[in-house]
């Protein structure tokens, strides 16, 4: 399903964009970092990870940055993904939306 750029970001898209904004990387590493960052609460399997990557590529939010060679006989080169300017804008918009939310919550005096 294509991404709706006008709505709030899906948390999984948000997490991937955030991690790729920190560091452009390849699939296996990205999966590990997702689990590290979410303390294991968010897990992707191979199918769902690349379904999400495909959606983000299609939306123009991430792009292929290049390939990294692996040792001989260990398989195909690894594709490195990074965030595009549009992706950063989406991330920024989501951060602003969340900041607004936070402000509203704080106004009620119920923040931690």
């Amino acid at each position: 399903m294509p991404i709706d750029p006008s709505g709030p970001l899906n948390p999984r898209h948000y997490l991937i964009l955030l991690l790729l904004a920190e560091e452009a990387t390849f699939g296996v590493r990205l999966m590990e970092r997702i689990e590290e960052r979410s303390d294991g609460s968010v897990r992707f399997n191979a199918g769902s990870l690349y379904r999400t990557i495909a959606q983000l590529v299609e939306a123009g939010w991430i792009e292929l940055r290049g390939e990294e060679a692996v040792s001989e006989g260990a398989g195909a080169p690894r594709k490195i993904y990074g965030v595009t300017a549009a992706g950063l804008a989406a991330l920024r918009a989501e951060a602003a939306r969340q900041a607004d939310l936070l402000t509203s919550v704080r106004a009620l005096g119920i923040d931690g």
Partner: protein, 893 residues
């Protein structure tokens, strides 16, 4: 213990798993939509393989990976279908929904078909994976087809596969031109870990064994010229598993030292993963040529492996071995009657199980056949039942292609679900199988054994299983499908107008004969099961000559370098220490624990006869103490047991077993005779008693003749101990170990096991075969019941109108029921008749696998016929009862 232990062998540890994701799962990648696969296929594979490794790389990880790939592809495909509007009323999407709805309405049929498929796929995948892992497994060394084991053979006493003395192995190496040979021997060793000696299997090899086998260590180097002769620093190789588990996978381990039996040994190299020879051995030690040369030619001890040189044949090698044997015989005394022969290693290692496994392969294929016949029946009946429903669909505008899609989707879906469940269950069945089959396979006519190295779900077999399920379902449904589609819309219209009844029965006429074939195969499998059950019963009735229940066995000690008197004293101190353990009633010592497939021969001289030494023979012998026979409950049948005074001073008394007495003293006058052995510690001994035979090579091999002598004459530095208890033996294991260490904490204690577990090994193959054949026969029987019930039910259902009319015209209930049974009766009779012929033929084919039962045993045959016929009649009778209860008012109203 290293030099003199004869075939002491610890149970080998399990094989190390491979750490590469199973490449057959790549077959799931094409399930992803093409564009997505092209862009991301390799990356998806890499991520999935990474998760597989992190999840433990076992079968659960494999299932998770299959699910990962399969579900990922399914979600994308579903999205694609939705995006392309396939759910809007046309094409596969709608067909799929139609089929799923239709199947939901026929849950009984779906359940039956899925169970049939799952049973067949699970059983076949399990058995053939096991065959793949044992009979067809590739060894870790290259060109295994040119590798052989060379045995000694004593023409005098009929021993077919025996070990070879050190000097003779060197003569073979130097004399043979047709093959390269190397010497090896499995032994136990101990390494001090956490302050206690821990026992490991060690493979002792001549320096050239790795070259001959073509294996190289993964790190460091193998043994070379430096290690060929003694005098250098002691060195070893370690297995990958030992390096990983006990050396923390240290990459710089080569060159460091390990204390083996108290002596530092330099680690020269680490073997590669899975690079085992016959059995996994954590430690590989070197046998120095000069020490082999210095041994007594009569002290047979070693195995020899040979690799044919290019261009040489087995016949040439065996001719050359014969020539070398005659040369040794001419040059040295004591080698009279001996010969050498080589056998291809792959033939030997699976000899004990080959016939059983191929028989099981055949049996499980018969189960597949029954399942296929059953599916054919189900599909025929199902298609006939659905004519009305399909006619409605045709009337609503479905074309031939649409009908074809619907009709073919159904068997494919069922096959995928049933086959998938079968594949999911198969690894669990394999794990169960690993519990009931022996961890090692004895090499017949020898004291050697090889472990089952691999018994995991074989990818090729799994794919074939699923492919067969889908292929068979499609193929078996095809006749009915084509008939329906060819008939086309005209027929459909007629069908609709006739209300869908009447014509349907025609569709299942031939199905009854499929049932007949199922029953025939069921009789064959029930007969096999009966024969295996009887055969095992016969084996279990064999009196083994001792009472294994309540007997704990253990091997201990490494006191070879102490004076004989001190060794004997140490062993008796251990016996006293063990007897003081609460729960231990008595204990005794024997140099080789029974049922461990170990043997040791003495040359025996009969001093009451003339013409020595021509009149000497080779017989098994055992060194024991005065408590052994009492502890093992081995009855003395004549004369007396050893008394404590026999165990003091020079050994001057002996006890022989019943076979020994009958063979050498057929006049019954063994007690009182004088005998000597080749060993100077055992000369001029008077036979004081005859003890019952112990069937130490299992119930199917006649017990060997054995001479028992008091241990103090020339003890072995490592011995076995039996402890009798009324408690579960393993409850005393820790206390017995501590009691042995209480005498000397530096001595190794190994192989603690209840005697029952050692005995059970000899029943393991027939036990496993019986369990499997009974299971397979049970599956076939169940499938036949389903088949008969299905057809009988359908016949009654399709004739309801006719039955109603007959009931209205006054036909009695019994008459209507009887007619139904009579209709199925010829099929049952002919099916079972064919089955009897097949069962008799099968019985003859498995004659060699049976023990104490005739392959044409009439009682087993009768029972098989009765079980099958009763099932068939019951399965036909239940629907027939419904025939008698049809209410005419309901039908005619």
């Amino acid at each position: 213990m290293s030099g003199r232990t004869k075939r002491g062998r610890s149970t080998p540890p399990a094989a190390e798993p491979t750490r590469r994701a199973p490449s057959w799962l790549r077959a799931l990648l094409p399930l992803f939509p093409r564009g997505h696969r092209r862009l991301y296929g390799e990356e998806i594979w890499e991520v999935a393989a990474h998760r597989w490794t992190r999840q433990g790389a076992g079968w659960r990880a494999t299932l998770a990976m299959a699910w990962d790939l399969g579900s990922g592809a399914a979600v994308l495909r579903a999205n694609q279908l939705r995006d392309e509007g396939m759910g809007m009323g046309r094409g596969w999407g709608m067909d799929l929904r139609f089929v799923l709805r239709s199947l939901w309405k026929s849950r009984g049929y779906v359940f039956t078909a899925v169970v049939v498929l799952a049973c067949a796929v699970a059983a076949n995948t399990t058995i053939y994976s096991y065959i793949q892992g044992t009979l067809l497994a590739e060894p870790s060394y290259p060109e295994p087809e040119s590798v052989a084991l060379v045995w000694g053979r004593n023409l005098e006493d009929g021993q077919r596969r025996d070990v070879i003395s050190g000097p003779n192995t060197l003569d073979l190496r130097e004399s043979l031109t047709t093959a390269r040979v190397a010497t090896f021997h499995y032994d136990g060793t101990y390494i001090e870990l956490d302050g206690r000696p821990e026992v490991f299997t060690a493979l002792d090899v001549s320096a050239d064994v790795l070259d001959v086998l073509g294996i190289a260590p993964a790190q460091g180097r193998g043994f070379g010229e430096t290690e060929r002769r003694s005098g250098g620093a002691p060195s070893i190789l370690v297995s990958h598993g030992f390096w990983r588990d006990h050396l923390e996978a240290d990459p710089d381990v080569v060159g460091s030292a390990l204390r083996l039996e108290g002596v530092p040994h330099t680690i020269l190299g680490v073997m590669g993963e899975g690079a085992d020879f016959l059995a996994p051995a954590p430690i590989v030690r070197v046998l120095h040529d000069d020490l082999l040369e210095a041994q007594d030619r009569g002290n047979i001890h070693y195995n020899v492996v040979a690799r044919l040189r290019p261009g040489a044949s087995w016949d040439q090698l065996n001719a050359e071995l014969g020539r070398v044997a005659r040369e040794i015989e001419a040059e040295y005394s004591g080698f009279e009657g001996w010969d050498f022969h080589a056998e291809p290693i792959q033939r030997i290692t699976t000899e004990a199980v080959r016939s059983v496994l191929w028989f099981l392969g055949g049996a499980v294929t018969l189960v597949l056949l029954v399942a296929a016949l059953n599916l054919a029946t189900l599909f025929r009946v199902r298609t006939a039942v659905r004519r009305e429903e399909l006619a409605i669909r045709a009337a609503l505008g479905a074309g031939r292609r649409g009908l074809l899609r619907v009709l073919l989707l159904e068997p494919v879906l069922l096959a995928l679900v049933g086959g998938g469940i079968g594949l999911a269950v198969a690894p669990m069945l394999l794990a169960e199988l690993a519990e009931i089959v022996p961890p090692w396979i004895p090499i017949p006519d020898s004291a050697a054994a090889v472990p089952v190295l691999y018994a995991e779900l074989a990818p090729g077999v799994a794919i074939t299983g699923l492919a067969v399920a889908v292929g068979a379902s499609l193929l078996l449904s095809l006749p009915a499908v084509l008939q329906t589609v060819r008939a086309g819309r005209d027929t459909s219209r007629t069908e609709l107008m006739s209300g869908g009844s009447g014509r349907v029965a025609r569709g299942v006429g031939g199905v009854r004969w499929l049932i007949g074939a199922e029953l025939a195969v069921t009789v064959v499998l029930c007969m096999s099961a009966g024969l295996f059950v009887r055969s095992l019963d016969e084996m279990l009735q064999t009196d083994l000559g001792l009472v294994p229940e309540g007997l704990l066995t253990v091997r201990f000690g490494d006191v070879w370098d102490q004076p004989f008197a001190d060794q004997a004293r140490y062993f008796e101190q251990v016996v006293q220490s063990v007897e003081a353990v609460p729960g231990v009633e008595e204990a005794g010592v024997i140099d080789y624990v029974d049922f461990r497939a170990e043997d040791d021969f003495a040359r025996v001289y009969f001093l009451d006869r003339e013409l020595q030494p021509v009149n000497s023979v080779r017989e098994e012998w055992r060194r024991v103490d005065a408590g052994l026979f009492r502890t093992a409950r081995m009855p003395i049948v004549q004369g007396r047991d050893f008394a404590p005074e026999d165990l003091e001073g020079p050994a001057r008394t002996a006890i022989v077993n019943r076979s020994f007495a009958e063979r050498h003293y057929p006049g019954g006058d063994a007690v009182g005779q004088l005998i000597s052995t080749h060993d100077s510690g055992y000369v001029d001994m008077r036979i004081v008693g005859i003890v019952e035979d112990v069937w130490s090579l299992g119930p199917t091999t006649p017990p060997p003749a054995v001479l028992y002598v008091p241990q103090q004459g020339s003890p072995r530095g490592t011995v076995g101990l039996y402890a009798r208890t009324s408690l579960p033996p393993m409850e005393l294991a820790a206390a017995v170990r501590e009691a042995i260490w209480a005498v000397d904490p530096t001595q190794p204690v190994m192989d603690i096991a209840p005697m029952t577990s050692l005995v059970d090994r000899w029943y393991a193959i027939p036990w496993a075969a019986r369990s499997l054949v009974v299971t397979l026969a049970g599956i076939a029987w169940g499938l036949s019941v389903i088949g008969v019930f299905g057809v009988a039910s359908y016949t009654v259902r399709s004739r309801r109108s006719e039955l109603g009319i007959r009931a209205a015209l006054g036909a009695s209930r019994a008459r209507l029921e009887g007619d139904q049974l009579r209709a199925i009766f010829p099929v049952v009779v002919i099916g079972i008749g064919v089955g009897i012929a097949g069962a008799l033929a099968m019985g003859t084919a498995v004659r060699s696998l049976l023990y104490g039962v005739s392959p044409t045993d009439p009682w087993v045959l009768l029972a098989s016929i009765a079980v099958t016929a009763a099932a068939a009649i019951l399965a036909a009778w239940l629907p027939a009862r419904r025939a008698g209860r049809v209410d005419p008012k309901e039908i005619l109203g």
